[in-house]
Structures are given as structure tokens and as C-alpha cells.
């Protein structure tokens, strides 16, 4: 039937960093519609997917289909600041080209 969206969109704002360093193991995600860290508690622990396309189509191990789409899974670990940004850690660090891109925050 009609496709359903069961995730919240988020923008990859950058990596966790300090004045002089960047820590690529943690990405920062601006969750759409989230204005403060209090509401951000809803998303703690929720799974996050960074979906991207590769040049070669690969076989999806679960469905068996060939697809260009690839995913890097992660989870929301904690809120970041007071304006609706959230920290997320992925199974492998996100590549720099993901910055500014969209990420899917699932509801589970």
C-alpha cells in the first residue's frame, strides 16, 4: 500500500567536538521539531539510521534484494545542549560526507 513514515527526520549537524578537537565516534543530530532537551528525552535510546547510496548495488542480507541503498545504524545516546540537538553513536563512525545530510530516527 502507501508507504508510511515511521521515523523522525534529523539533520546531521556535525561531530562532537571541543575547542580544538573533533570526536568522530559521536555525531550530533538536530531532530526536526525538537526545540529543547526536555522533549529530547523521548528519543533517548531510539535507533537511528543513516541511509545513503553506494555506487555498486549490494545484496541486502535480510531481504535478499539487490540495492544501492546502504545503512549505518546507530542509537541516540543523550541530548546535546538545550536546543533540540541530540548525540548519536553509530556502529561505525559516520563519514564526513554525511554532514548536512539526513538521518532517520526510528520510533523504536
Amino acid at each position: 500500500g502507501q508507504p508510511v513514515r515511521l521515523y523522525v527526520k534529523g539533520a546531521l549537524v556535525g561531530y562532537k567536538g571541543s575547542k580544538v578537537n573533533q570526536y568522530h565516534h559521536t555525531s550530533l543530530v538536530k531532530v526536526q521539531g525538537l526545540a529543547d532537551s526536555k522533549d529530547g528525552d523521548f528519543y533517548l535510546g531510539k535507533r537511528v539510521a543513516y541511509v545513503y547510496k553506494g555506487k555498486n548495488s549490494k545484496r541486502n542480507p535480510r531481504t535478499g534484494e539487490q540495492s544501492n541503498l546502504r545503512v549505518i545504524w546507530g542509537r541516540v545516546t543523550r541530548t546535546h545542549g538545550r536546543s533540540g540537538v541530540v548525540r548519536a553513536k553509530f556502529r561505525s563512525n559516520l563519514p564526513p560526507k554525511s554532514l548536512g545530510g539526513t538521518v532517520r530516527i526510528m520510533l523504536y
Partner: protein, 230 residues
């Protein structure tokens, strides 16, 4: 961290050891508590058979360490307070994602047993993990439905081992062997049995409930789950 046996024993004991050598209740206090004070024949003691311990014939020289007793008791996952029999759930993963389904009961494995009902949205009797579900506040009265026969075993398909050798003759043989594993008639019967009552209950609860169960949940622009009441 105690076995059931140990717990029962502890529950029956009137006294307990605070520190080795120091008990909670003194001898005179125990005399009163055990009821010995009120016994007519105070010399009588309850007869307990002590197990006769035979001296063992073999003592090992080496210190053989025994593995610790496994005291783990399997309990199904704690069910969220928002999920109760009859609650309408939103499925988040799997082929039926977005569908509204009716929660029936929690199976022994901890998984939730749900049904569409099949007539409404094509979701059959199915198991789903609590984690992959959002509970809504909508409820259907399923008190009339008997679910005792539905258990985990019903959903576990026996694994058919793929043959290892690939010979030409075997190749053709396998093509013949592949049977379509559809849904058994018993399962369909069970589905109908369970669903008929839920469909009736849904229509009774609210005139819009059948349409609600037929619909799918989806987020659209401007809708944010952290601002929603489900």
C-alpha cells in the same frame, strides 16, 4: 538469588542470623516464638528424619571446583503498563509496519501476540516484540476471547535443512521437493475463531474503530512523536 526451595525454607524460619553467632531472637525469645512454651508435653520435640550420611569411600586429593549452581529463572519480559489485553498497538517494524493491531496476550517467550484482525488489515495472528510497538490509549474488550490454545510453538516453523551436495540428479530432486509452505488450515481456523469475537467487540466499542484498525499510522509534515499523545 535463592532457589525456590531455599526461599520456602527461609520463609518458614522464625529466626535469622544477623552475624555469625548472633541471632535476631534470643533463646528465651525463641522459646516463646516457636510455641514450645504452650506445648503440654515440653519434652516432646517434633520428629524429623535426619538424612544418614555415609562416610565417602573416596576423597579427592585435588581441589575440584564445582561450577556454581545456575539459579537463573526465565521470566517473560515485563510488559509495559500501557500495553494490556485489547490495547490497540502501532506496529513499527516488519512487513506490517504502520498497521494498527489488537494486542491479545503476552506469550511465554515474552513476545506479544497480536492480530489485525485479519479481516480489517491483513495482519494475522502474529508475534511481535514489545520494543517494536507503540501502545495507543484505544482499547477493545477482548474478555470473551479464549486464547489458551495459542502458544509460542504455533509460530515456530521447523527448520528444514538444505541439502549439502549439489549434484545434477539432486538438483532436479530438490525442485520437486520444494513445497509451498502456506498457512495451515488449523491456523486459519484459529484465526477466524479469534478474529470473529474481536471484530464484533471492535464494532461494539466504537463505530469508527473498524476504520481505525484498517488505517495505517504515518508521520506527516509537522507531526512530531515527542509532542504526541498516543
Amino acid at each position: 538469588t535463592h532457589t525456590e526451595e531455599e526461599e520456602n525454607k527461609m520463609a518458614r524460619q522464625r529466626n535469622r542470623e544477623i552475624v555469625p553467632g548472633v541471632n535476631r531472637f534470643s533463646r528465651s525469645q525463641m522459646y516463646k516464638r516457636s510455641g514450645r512454651k504452650y506445648l503440654k508435653n515440653k519434652k516432646e520435640t517434633p520428629k524429623t528424619e535426619k538424612p544418614v550420611r555415609k562416610a565417602s569411600r573416596f576423597y579427592s586429593v585435588d581441589n575440584i571446583s564445582k561450577p556454581l549452581k545456575a539459579v537463573h529463572v526465565h521470566k517473560p519480559t515485563a510488559l509495559r503498563r500501557s500495553i494490556r489485553p485489547g490495547t490497540v498497538l502501532i506496529v513499527l517494524t516488519g512487513p506490517y509496519r504502520g498497521n494498527h493491531v489488537v494486542f491479545l496476550k503476552q506469550l511465554e517467550s515474552g513476545l506479544l501476540l497480536v492480530t489485525g484482525p485479519y479481516a480489517f488489515n491483513g495482519v494475522p495472528l502474529r508475534r511481535i516484540n514489545q520494543v517494536h510497538v507503540i501502545a495507543t490509549s484505544t482499547k477493545v474488550d477482548i474478555s470473551g476471547v479464549s486464547l489458551d490454545s495459542v502458544k509460542d510453538e504455533l509460530f515456530i516453523k521447523p527448520k528444514t535443512k538444505a541439502p549439502k551436495k549439489k549434484t545434477e540428479a539432486g538438483f532436479f530432486k530438490n525442485e520437486q521437493k520444494k513445497e509451498k509452505t502456506g498457512v495451515s488450515d488449523e491456523f486459519k481456523k484459529l484465526q477466524k475463531e479469534v478474529d470473529s469475537k474481536i471484530v464484533a467487540a471492535a464494532k461494539k466499542t466504537d463505530s469508527l474503530l473498524p476504520a481505525y484498525l484498517r488505517s495505517k499510522f504515518s508521520l506527516s509534515k509537522g507531526q512530531y512523536p515527542h509532542l504526541m499523545n498516543f
